[in-house]
């Protein structure tokens, strides 16, 4: 019996004290992933693998440009208790350098490392800047990659103020003052690397001069204008007080004087005007609607006005233009707004052409370049129309804002080689240069004159642009000279 008690006590004792001893804490440290690498920054991920919480005095990453980790960058993230992954962001690295990285933990004073991963920091890249043309003191945006926090921007030799540095790829920079050089290269310097792009920055150019020459007595609106060599003509339409204008005025830049001439027919208000001497249609009175249609069409050959046959369709407020030596009329507000007719001077015949894909009228700005018609509609869309294949496409958008029924009509344009000067819409000051080779818009100097005015004519001579404007509240018209490349 004593033995039974003894064995029971022994079994109980063993049950009580035979529990498994606490196992020594085991863990692994892993350098898990290079999450993201930029030019001067890396984000690394490490992981502590363990089955229980283990207090570590420190953890983080070692980074070095050599595999032996001499003089490493130590990214310490402090103590940690829980196993699992951890991420660290290390900046201040050199561009385009191969680095080695490994995670570490400090446990009981001993530093333990994970596996080693390698990565290469990226080089900085300067991709683009917009806008390509800007006023001094205004902002441009430079985009690229991997700009470091020491980035500097130079316009030629002038250092620019960096207004905003965003995410290492975008810089907002204030344009330095004008230094008598219109085109300057932009250089970006970061971490000792100098970066540039193939195209220069352009200071906004354009010089306006208000000329003394004026049309006596008249303030023309709804008129005709055209150019013959260096002779500018403007007239017909009506005076703003709704008196008819049966006159034309001629201007020669060499003489600097508008001379009045008598027109053999009655006036053509809101006619189809090609700007080359062909014009016609529109209205012959100055009444409010209903207006009386003027069915005569004319050509000025440099000496005389020659009447040409009228088309079998009535046009007013239409596009008028020349392409391949033939006079075209398109759209307008009478009847179908997409009709196109063509007059061949050699045969003296009108011919109907395919309709335009959209209705157009003279509120929209239009021009012809390389025998293709272009127009900017009321939504700012610049369309190209091939008059021979009847194909159209959208090629760009007018860069300045339009305000409906306020600044979306009345613009003017003139083609000079491969460049088109566009703007001066009603109540607006913007004037733009459009390069037809790449459809890049370049801002020109803001128009300093009265904006409450209507364009009455635009001409060009010897690289300069001349335009006539009829102010709404002034007694005389304004005649301006614009030099697009000067300041």
């Amino acid at each position: 019996m004593k033995r039974i008690y003894f064995y029971i006590v022994l079994v109980l004792t063993l049950l009580t004290f035979s529990c498994e001893e606490e196992r020594a804490e085991g863990f692994n440290i892993l350098t898990e992933e290079i999450v993201n690498v930029s030019g001067e920054r890396v984000i690394l991920m490490g992981r502590i693998i363990a089955f229980q919480n283990i207090p570590m005095q420190d953890h983080g990453f070692y980074i070095s440009s050599n595999e032996s980790f001499n003089q490493p960058i130590i990214h310490s993230m402090g103590q940690i208790d829980r196993p699992g992954r951890f991420a660290g962001e290390i900046s201040g690295l050199d561009l385009g350098v191969t680095y080695f990285a490994k995670a570490f933990v400090v446990r009981d004073g001993e530093t333990l490392f994970g596996n080693t991963l390698t990565f290469q920091t990226l080089g900085a890249v300067f991709d683009d800047f917009q806008p390509r043309t800007q006023f001094p003191g205004e902002i441009i945006t430079i985009t690229g990659r991997n700009f470091a926090d020491d980035v500097e921007v130079f316009f030629g030799d002038q250092k620019a103020e960096i207004v905003q540095f965003e995410f290492g790829f975008r810089l907002r920079v204030r344009v330095p003052s004008f230094n008598n050089v219109v085109q300057v290269p932009i250089r970006v310097i970061t971490r000792g690397n100098e970066l540039s792009v193939d195209f220069p920055f352009n200071y906004v150019t354009g010089k306006y001069t208000l000329l003394e020459a004026n049309l006596d007595e008249f303030r023309l609106v709804d008129n005709v204008f055209f150019q013959k060599g260096n002779r500018f003509f403007v007239g017909l339409g009506m005076n703003v007080n709704r008196t008819s204008s049966n006159f034309l005025w001629e201007y020669k830049p060499t003489e600097g004087l508008w001379k009045k001439e008598i027109f053999p027919g009655s006036t053509h208000r809101r006619s189809a005007n090609s700007g080359t001497g062909y014009f016609g249609g529109g209205f012959q009175d100055t009444n409010f609607p209903p207006e009386v249609y003027n069915d005569s069409y004319w050509y000025y050959d440099g000496d005389d006005f020659v009447r040409i046959p009228n088309p079998p369709f009535e046009f007013a407020e239409s596009f008028g233009f020349m392409a391949q030596g033939q006079f075209y009329i398109a759209g307008g507000t009478l009847g179908i707004g997409s009709n196109v007719y063509r007059y061949n001077p050699e045969t003296s015949l009108w011919q109907i052409r395919p309709n335009l894909p959209f209705n157009v009228d003279s509120r929209m700005l239009h021009f012809v370049h390389n025998d293709k018609l272009y127009w900017i509609d009321m939504d700012k869309v610049l369309r190209e129309y091939d008059l021979f294949t009847a194909q159209s496409r959208v090629i760009s958008e007018y860069p300045s804002p339009f305000i409906e029924d306020f600044s979306d009509t009345g613009g003017t344009s003139i083609v000079m080689g491969d460049k088109v000067y566009i703007g001066l819409y009603n109540n607006a000051r913007e004037f733009w240069e459009l390069d037809m080779r790449d459809y890049v818009w370049t801002r020109k100097t803001i128009f300093p004159g009265i904006t409450r005015a209507r364009n009455a004519g635009i001409f060009q001579a010897e690289g300069k642009i001349y335009f006539l404007r009829t102010p709404d509240f002034e007694s005389v018209m304004e005649f301006w000279e614009f030099d697009p490349d000067n300041l």
Binding site: I8, M45, M77, R145, G168, R170
Partner: protein
């Protein structure tokens, strides 16, 4: 002596039970995160405006603590392996969008980087874009599935993709249904007056219009179709890639299903598979326990912070299939009767109207790109 020993033994036994039978209190450290950041979104190789949605996950439990709140005014960037960055402007409701022409490139890797208004920063792990084997064709067939109701089987339409899985690479596929259009057929000639009608309640009042309208919906049931090629590597596939439940309305005429044929990474596949498991929970003892699934977003400020959701990048092939009633072997019968002008489908009898809100009318015009032939 024996008696003394017995008493001694009893004391020892009592002492043993007294000192060993108590239960120690065990404190479980529970994670009770406060409104976890949730990241949803993916980008593909198709140029369009891709969306990333940020929100704060609401707590689930007996106490209602508010809906999932959108995270507004964060800075969201997508960066590729060359560090080309795209800033996603904020739109509304926590949604950030890429430019219209943005598209991922096969072979590149991408990170999503988020900076919250309070300065907290998060970044996704790298997601690689693998090319998706092109889908040769898509077919469909009606299927009948036994349900809990012995008298009524569940009817639906299986969409079957036909494609060659490449042998020399590991592929993970994900098929995602998109909002789809279908023609709703109504029976306006069966219209009856409302029961509240003063003179002729429930009286017959046939309408002349309209029988056929068009409606856009997300195809039900929502499900995650993802698969790895580990069991069919290199074989030609004839595989179900989507299923649409026949509710009696969808297949009365023509259903145009839009979906994406996507490649995903192994990690994204794992995440989607786990998501699918969670969505299929039915409450049975065989279900996996409900869990927060770890995504691939990491907090740079606090690595222990849990972030929900997954940012992935895919090569995409857009798939559009017209499912015509006449091509289905069978469909749910009887089909739903809509005794109303089909344009009123969203508000039959004014049932969905409320002060200040009237559901929109359906269009009788098909979508501009509707081309079932």
């Amino acid at each position: 002596m024996t008696r003394v020993l017995r008493i001694f033994f009893v004391f020892i036994l009592l002492g043993f039970f007294i000192f060993n039978s108590c239960i120690d209190r065990f404190n479980i450290p529970l994670d009770e995160p406060d409104f976890i950041l949730n990241v949803e979104g993916y980008i593909t190789t198709q140029p369009r405006s891709h969306q990333i949605r940020l929100s704060r996950a609401a707590k689930y439990g007996p106490d209602f603590l508010g809906p999932s709140r959108p995270v507004n005014l964060a800075t969201v960037l997508i960066k590729d392996n060359e560090e080309k960055s795209v800033l996603l402007p904020y739109t509304e409701n926590g949604i950030y969008i890429t430019p219209d022409d943005f598209a991922a490139k096969v072979g590149n890797s991408y990170n999503l980087e988020i900076t919250l208004p309070n300065g907290d920063r998060y970044i996704s792990t790298k997601e690689y874009v693998n090319s998706v084997p092109k889908m040769d064709s898509v077919t469909y067939q009606a299927v009948r599935t036994a349900s809990e109701n012995r008298l009524n089987d569940v009817i639906g339409v299986q969409i079957i993709g036909h494609f060659q899985d490449p042998q020399d690479e590991v592929n993970y596929y994900y098929w995602r249904k998109l909002d789809s259009d279908f023609a709703i057929i109504a029976e306006p000639e069966l219209y009856t007056l409302p029961p509240t009608h003063p003179t002729n309640p429930r009286g017959s009042a046939p309408k002349d219009c309209c029988v056929r309208c068009f409606y856009k919906e997300f195809p039900a049931p929502p499900s995650i179709m993802t698969v790895a090629d580990e069991f069919f590597n290199g074989n030609y596939q004839r595989r179900m890639i989507a299923y649409i439940l026949d509710n009696g309305t969808r297949f009365k005429d023509t259903y145009r299903l839009d979906m994406q044929h996507l490649s995903v990474s192994a990690e994204a596949h794992r995440f989607l598979t786990l998501m699918d498991q969670q969505l299929r929970l039915t409450g049975s003892v065989f279900d996996p326990p409900p869990a927060n699934i770890r995504g691939n977003m990491v907090s740079l400020k606090n690595p222990e912070e849990q972030v929900l959701g997954y940012f992935f990048v895919s090569d995409e092939q857009f798939i559009r299939t017209y499912i015509k009633k006449e091509n289905l072997e069978f469909f749910l019968t009887p089909q739903s009767i809509i005794p109303e002008d089909c344009r009123e489908y969203l508000n039959i009898g004014g049932s969905n109207s409320s002060p200040g809100f009237t559901p929109p009318k359906l269009s009788v015009e098909p979508p501009p790109d509707w081309n079932p032939d």
